[in-house]
């Protein structure tokens, strides 16, 4: 990957993460991250992203 392409890819990934961090329940933000990693052949990261939280805690308010 050329240096310019790598920089652009990093900037894109950075935006995906910023959106995900602002709302980690946002399915669209998670899907963007997951498809980025899937497209870059990083299945372990896709699995980690999609892993469910500990079910022992749910918001009952």
């Amino acid at each position: 990957m050329s240096s310019q392409k790598a920089t652009t890819a990093l900037a894109t990934l950075c935006q995906y993460y910023a959106a995900y961090l602002a709302n980690p329940n946002n399915a669209a933000a998670e899907a963007e991250l997951a498809s980025y990693y899937a497209a870059n052949n990083m299945p372990d990261l896709v699995t980690l992203l999609k892993a469910k939280d500990d079910p022992g805690c749910t918001d009952s308010r």
Binding site: A18, A22, N25, C57, D59
Partner: protein, 302 residues
């Protein structure tokens, strides 16, 4: 293979503990003293440790002079006050990283050279520039942070005379350590603008900038900075924890915080040994504690 432990004295830290610990490991120390302090000289003479006076203002120059005056095949580089905890160097020629331990914080620096020569650079926070480095079983316990105001003054002088990434980076870190948050944020923004590389020091500047945003109640730039950090290294639990802290402390969104603390644990477990620094608490103890707190808030009757 002969091994020399080179100890640089710059100020008044506790040299005796460093010397005694080096001797306890059966290693030969060589002391270079930038202050030419008679007491340091006396301490070395009592312990039969070679002493070299190095009256100069540049730590890199002092290191280079001590290195050239030290006859050995392998060299370990320490500062007065640091304690060598483990020292097993490979026989292969090259530069090696040490793990620098300060409470629960671990960082990495080149602190050993085997069968090679090199040059230290920078008058403060000197370092060896090497294209290839390897890990070694070399652990250095750091002393409590000393007179940071004095270091801040010296670093500000350095940054004024020589504006480079290293001087700007260390100045920013010292401003943060001294609690000058606004000055730090200004310095960090300049670094992020001038040096956009996605390497470890640049990414850590972004992380500390995000930490400053937490103190300033600024979640939007915090998430932007952390987004960059995680894009570079998603296995750093510190980054996920800080995002969790933003939701917990700034936005009162404990469900989001819980999820991000949970990610700190799951991603952090897959982290590999490398040059990235680590705040060990952030890999399990801290996120577990915060997740329990989130649970207690979300489910007050359980």
């Amino acid at each position: 293979m002969t091994l020399a432990v080179q100890i640089l004295v710059d100020g008044e830290p506790d040299l005796s503990a460093t010397l005694d610990q080096t001797a306890a490991l059966g290693l030969q120390a060589y002391v270079g003293d930038m202050r030419n302090n008679p007491e340091t000289h006396h301490m070395c003479r009592l312990r039969r440790v070679p002493y070299t006076p190095l009256a100069c203002s540049s730590r890199a120059d002092a290191r280079n002079r001590l290195w050239s005056a030290t006859p050995a095949d392998a060299h370990v580089f320490l500062n007065a006050g640091e304690m060598l905890h483990r020292c097993r160097l490979p026989a292969g020629k090259g530069f090696y990283l040490a793990s620098l331990v300060n409470n629960n914080l671990v960082s990495h620096e080149i602190r050993a050279a085997v069968g090679v020569t090199g040059t230290f650079q920078h008058r403060l926070f000197e370092q060896i520039e090497a294209t290839s480095v390897a890990n070694a079983d070399l652990v250095v316990v750091m002393p409590a942070f000393g007179n940071s105001q004095e270091m801040l003054r010296r670093c500000a002088e350095w940054a004024k005379e020589e504006k480079c990434f290293s001087s700007c980076y260390h100045l920013a870190m010292l401003q943060l350590a001294c609690g000058h948050i606004d000055q730090f944020m200004t310095s960090a923004r300049e670094i992020m603008f001038r040096y956009p590389e996605a390497d470890i020091p640049n990414t850590m500047v972004r992380y500390y900038y995000a930490l400053a945003c937490l103190h300033k109640n600024q979640p939007v730039p915090l998430f932007a900075a952390l987004g960059m950090c995680l894009a570079v290294n998603p296995f750093m639990a510190e980054f996920w924890c800080l995002a969790g802290d933003a939701h917990y402390h700034l936005l009162n969104n404990f469900g989001h915080a819980y999820r991000l603390y949970s990610k700190a644990i799951s991603f952090g477990r897959h982290r590999k040994v490398g040059r990235w620094p680590a705040d060990l608490d952030k890999y399990e103890e801290y996120p577990l504690k915060m997740m329990a707190s989130c649970c207690a808030i979300l489910n007050p009757n359980r």
